[in-house]
């Protein structure tokens, strides 16, 4: 059964040391703020397949013990300052990856198999820094080398979407990677702009863009929950705000000042 809970209750249910999968599109910045407020720590962040301001905030706030990602960047606003500083300081375990390898690891978990073969990658130094990835002789078909990556089973998948219905079905549109995260994860927490009274499974057209409640454990309402990042069909990204973050977060003090403003801003919206 999907529970509809408060944002604070949702965040409080992520325990220290747990792995948390987060997306690129449909980022729950509201839950990110709530996690930081709740004193989250030692989290193992899995970026599906990259992240930006969300990861950088969690890193700067000291909530991250390990990170698996294909990249962390603020896009047009440049590099992610807290990520870059933390990498140089060796502040957390770093599991560098490449986008389709993270998606393949989640797919293995979705299928209930221990690993997934994946094309390419041979020749990359990623194979040196990821001893958990193996190059094997293809056991079937044309002889040749193939890379296999282990299944990725996040403790919690966390994202933001426009709507949930009363039963906990979530409208994700064509952002199927959000469903992929939920299939692979042990539990899925979703924040939404609103809860609607109609049944999102009612028509084929609507159901095709829905993640069924079977995969959804907790839903919390968080208006403008992706801000300052965009949410499809709802609002564009606040690029000026991300640029302001990028500039302030260059120093530790600037980051602290930004974070406290960000948390109080999020409290006001909530």
């Amino acid at each position: 059964m999907t529970e509809i809970v408060s944002l604070e209750a949702l965040a409080a249910d992520v325990a220290p040391g747990q792995s948390l999968a987060v997306p690129v599109v449909g980022v729950s910045m509201a839950a990110t703020a709530a996690l930081i407020e709740a004193g989250a720590r030692d989290m193992r962040l899995i970026c599906v397949p990259v992240s930006g301001m969300q990861a950088d905030l969690l890193i700067g706030a000291g909530a991250i013990g390990e990170i698996e990602t294909s990249a962390i960047s603020l896009g047009e606003a440049g590099g992610a300052p807290r990520f870059n500083a933390a990498v140089r300081a060796g502040a957390f375990g770093l599991r560098d990856s490449t986008c389709p390898a993270i998606l393949a690891g989640l797919l293995a978990a979705q299928r209930g198999v221990p690993f997934m073969p994946i094309a390419g990658i041979v020749g990359s130094d990623l194979l040196q820094v990821r001893p958990d990835w193996k190059v094997i002789d293809s056991p079937t078909g044309e002889p040749g080398k193939v890379v296999v990556v282990p299944a990725i089973t996040p403790d919690v998948a966390l994202f933001h979407a426009p709507e949930a219905d009363r039963a906990g079905n979530i409208r994700i549109g064509r952002h199927r990677e959000l469903a992929g995260m939920a299939y692979a994860a042990r539990r899925t927490f979703v924040t939404v702009e609103r809860i609607v009274d109609r049944n999102l499974m009612e028509t084929e057209d609507s159901a095709a863009g829905v993640l069924p409640s079977l995969y959804v454990d907790k839903v919390a309402v968080a208006p403008r929950g992706a801000w300052p990042l965009p949410l499809w069909d709802e609002y564009p990204g606040d690029d000026a705000e991300v640029a302001r973050y990028a500039s302030m977060a260059r120093s530790e003090e600037g980051f602290r000042a930004y974070l406290s403003g960000f948390l109080s801003q999020r409290r006001k919206v909530a």
């Binding site: 294909s70 990498v87 140089r88 300081a89 560098d96 041979v122 130094d125 990623l126």
Partner: protein, 247 residues
């Protein structure tokens, strides 16, 4: 401003030429010049009655015809349905290997860059990967990258993908996959082949006479300044605006 516009127009025109003959090109986020080159090719193909060109711009809602989530681009490339893609690199070496991770020892890099993104995979699978890096300096073009995000040639595995050309602010190089190295094709107006040599940290093949990179012709400029900038403005409004203001 006018000089900056001319510089960009030259690069966009070269990109369109490098893409000639492709059916589907994917462009990463924050890549206005590659995207404009792809749009120029699409407009030209339409005018010349050639087969239509599809453009996927990652992170764009209008230029995204995928419906199966983030994995679809990668699946599409594995199926041979992506003909061209662009990659950059904090470092690019003479063997065509690229580094998107950082400089110095790993993991505590001296300078850390965002990360490898999809490069380790797409370099193997997309036939025409165009390396695009505007800064042409010895710190970018190094003898050997500090970290191989994606390897250009791997004789130990079968692959259809790899580097096709390298385009910078100064010059255009072809990549020879059998030899595993670059060859200078042309130098942009305003630079000499010795400028290129002194700013490139790796060795490459150079013809006895190095031609100048051709400037866009009048018809191309008309398309570029009209239709292409209008189309580009949907995804890169700030870039299109500065181009139009310089006119």
């Amino acid at each position: 401003m006018a000089a900056e516009r001319e510089r960009r127009e030259l690069l966009i025109n070269v990109v369109a030429g490098l893409l000639d003959g492709i059916r589907h090109v994917a462009v990463g986020a924050s890549s206005p010049i590659p995207a404009a080159g792809a749009m120029l090719l699409r407009a030209r193909s339409e005018l010349e009655g050639k087969p239509p060109v599809r453009i996927s711009i990652l992170g764009s809602q209008e230029h995204n015809f995928f419906t199966n989530g983030a994995i679809e681009l990668f699946d599409c490339a594995a199926q041979g349905r992506v003909d061209a893609f662009f990659l950059g690199g904090g470092q690019i070496d003479g063997a065509g290997n690229i580094n998107l991770v950082g400089t110095g020892a790993y993991p505590k890099s001296d300078v850390r860059w965002p990360g490898s993104f999809g490069s380790a995979y797409l370099y193997h699978l997309v036939p025409r990967v165009i390396l695009f890096r505007e800064e042409h300096s010895p710190r970018v073009f190094v003898p050997k990258v500090d970290f191989v995000s994606a390897a250009a040639t791997t004789p130990e595995v079968k692959r259809r993908g790899g580097p096709y050309a390298l385009l910078t602010n100064m010059a255009l190089f072809d990549f020879d996959r059998s030899r595993g190295g670059f060859a200078l094709r042309s130098v942009h107006p305003g630079y000499s082949s010795s400028d290129v040599r002194s700013q490139t940290g790796f060795d490459y093949v150079e013809p006895p006479v190095v031609p100048a990179t051709p400037l866009p012709d009048a018809q191309t400029l008309e398309l570029l300044r009209g239709r292409v900038m209008r189309e580009l403005a949907e995804t890169y409004p700030a870039f299109a605006r500065t181009m139009l203001q310089a006119a």
